[in-house]
Every structure is written in C-alpha cells, then in structure tokens.
C-alpha cells in the first residue's frame, strides 16, 4: 500500500468518525464538524485515490 493510499485511509477514518457522530447525535457542533472537516477530508481522500490510480495506470503504461 502506497503512502498516498495510507493518507487517504486516515482521512476517510477521521471523516467517517465525525459523520457517524453527526448521524448519532445531530448538534450544531457535530454538524459543523461534518460539513467543515468530514466533507473536505472525503474530497481530499478521493483526490489522493484518483492520483494513485492514475499513477498506477501510468506505471503499467495504460495511460
């Protein structure tokens, strides 16, 4: 597993913890955490994953 994927997984874990806490008990604070931390973290993790996929495809000379 590459460093980029590891970082992506850590981001997903943090974001998921905050999203679940918002689902379990929706308060102003948990909702703020979800929208200001979870969503950007998910987005960043997705970008890292896509970058890694493109790198992998280039490595195998598909792209």
């Amino acid at each position: 597993m590459t460093p980029l994927i590891r970082i992506a997984l850590v981001l997903v874990a943090i974001a998921t913890a905050l999203a679940v806490s918002c689902l379990v008990k929706t308060t102003a604070l948990s909702m703020t955490f979800f929208f200001s931390i979870s969503l950007p973290a998910y987005g960043l993790a997705a970008i890292l994953y896509i970058v890694e996929v493109i790198r992998d495809l280039r490595h195998h000379r598909v792209l």
């Binding site: 597993m1 994927i5 979870s38 997705a46």
Partner: protein, 193 residues
C-alpha cells in the same frame, strides 16, 4: 496492489464516503429544523425555555403551546420565507457557531429586522388578520412598509425575564407584576388564531 485490494479501496475511499455523506447531509439538515437542535447550543437555552416552558407570555410561547405551528417551530419563524430562505438560515446558523467559538459572546439578537413575510406566510389570508382593524391598512403590512414586530414586540420574553430576575434581587425577591405584558401576549395570541 492486488485487484481485490483495488476494488476494496474503491468502495472504502469513494463509494462508502459518498453514500455516507449524502445520508448524513440529508438527515442532519432535516434534524437541524427541530427545536431540539436549536437547543443543542447552550446559548439558546433561555429562548428554548421561553418557547417550550410551562409558563410563558411571549408570542413564540403562544405559538408553541397552542401548536399554532405543528413542527419545527424555531425554523418556521426564523428561516425567511422564499426560495433562498432555508439556505440563508443555514448560513446564518454557521455564522452563529463561528461567532460563538471565536469568543464573540455578545447579546443574542437578529441580524436584521424580522421580516413580515415570516408572519404573513401563515397569517396573510387569515380571517382574524384581515378583519382586525389594527392591521389597517393591510397593504402596508403586506408590502413591508409597516412591520408586524412594531406592535407584536414580545416575540420572546428572555430579556424581560432577565430584567425581572434582576429586579427581583433588588426588590427583595418579589416578582415583578407583568400583567400588562400578559394582556399584550394574549392579544397577540388571539391575532394568531
């Protein structure tokens, strides 16, 4: 990486987060309209107590106690009536949270005048509203030239309770007579029915 791991990562990093985000956003936006959500900030406790308490003489309490608004009472009055009203309410809510956590603990008040449209979304076509001579000329209320809150000014009774508590201390604990305010609140409630 094996092909199996790639598929697992696709689900863990892309698909599950997308589904979880959509569910959380939908559920939290829906829950954010409830009175309990507004009360999740301790700053709002006096207002929530005023609205949901057993005794109250404010317009908000009357609307809640008589169930003139069935659900989401805070949200119904405080999100502006119109296409972007709910979005503006959520942006203002975020401003509230930011203001609180950067240490601005000043007086809690509305950002602007309470718009007539928020009252008139229910009352505009009501018989009690249209037939009350105090509302004439109705066109001025409908256009926003006259404000509902200019007369119906006891929307919440939080400041008055604080004043009463302060007076109670200075007057040896005697509760201030608020009969005049009760009378006004009753008039307000009757207008709403």
């Amino acid at each position: 990486m094996t092909s199996r791991l790639k598929i697992v990562l696709l689900f863990v990093i892309l698909i599950v987060p997308a589904v979880l985000s959509a569910i959380t956003a939908k559920v939290s936006f829906s829950r954010a309209e409830r009175v309990e959500f507004c009360g999740s900030c301790h700053t709002m406790t006096p207002w929530i107590n005023d609205v949901t308490g057993a005794d109250g003489d404010s317009l908000a309490h009357e609307h809640f106690a008589r169930r003139l608004i069935q659900h989401d009472q805070c949200y119904t009055c405080h999100s502006n009536y119109g296409f972007l009203g709910p979005l503006e309410a959520k942006i203002k809510g975020v401003r509230h949270v930011i203001a609180f956590y950067i240490g601005d603990h000043g007086k809690v008040e509305l950002y602007g005048k309470f718009p007539n449209a928020n009252c008139l979304q229910c009352h505009a076509e009501g018989k009690a509203f249209l037939e009350d001579s105090n509302h004439e000329p109705v066109a001025d209320l409908l256009s926003g030239k006259d404000l509902c809150v200019d007369c119906h000014d006891t929307m919440h009774n939080v400041e008055q309770e604080e004043d009463a508590a302060a007076d109670g201390k200075t007057n040896g604990g005697h509760e201030e007579d608020k009969g005049g305010e009760h009378g006004k609140a009753d008039d307000d409630a009757e207008d709403g029915e």
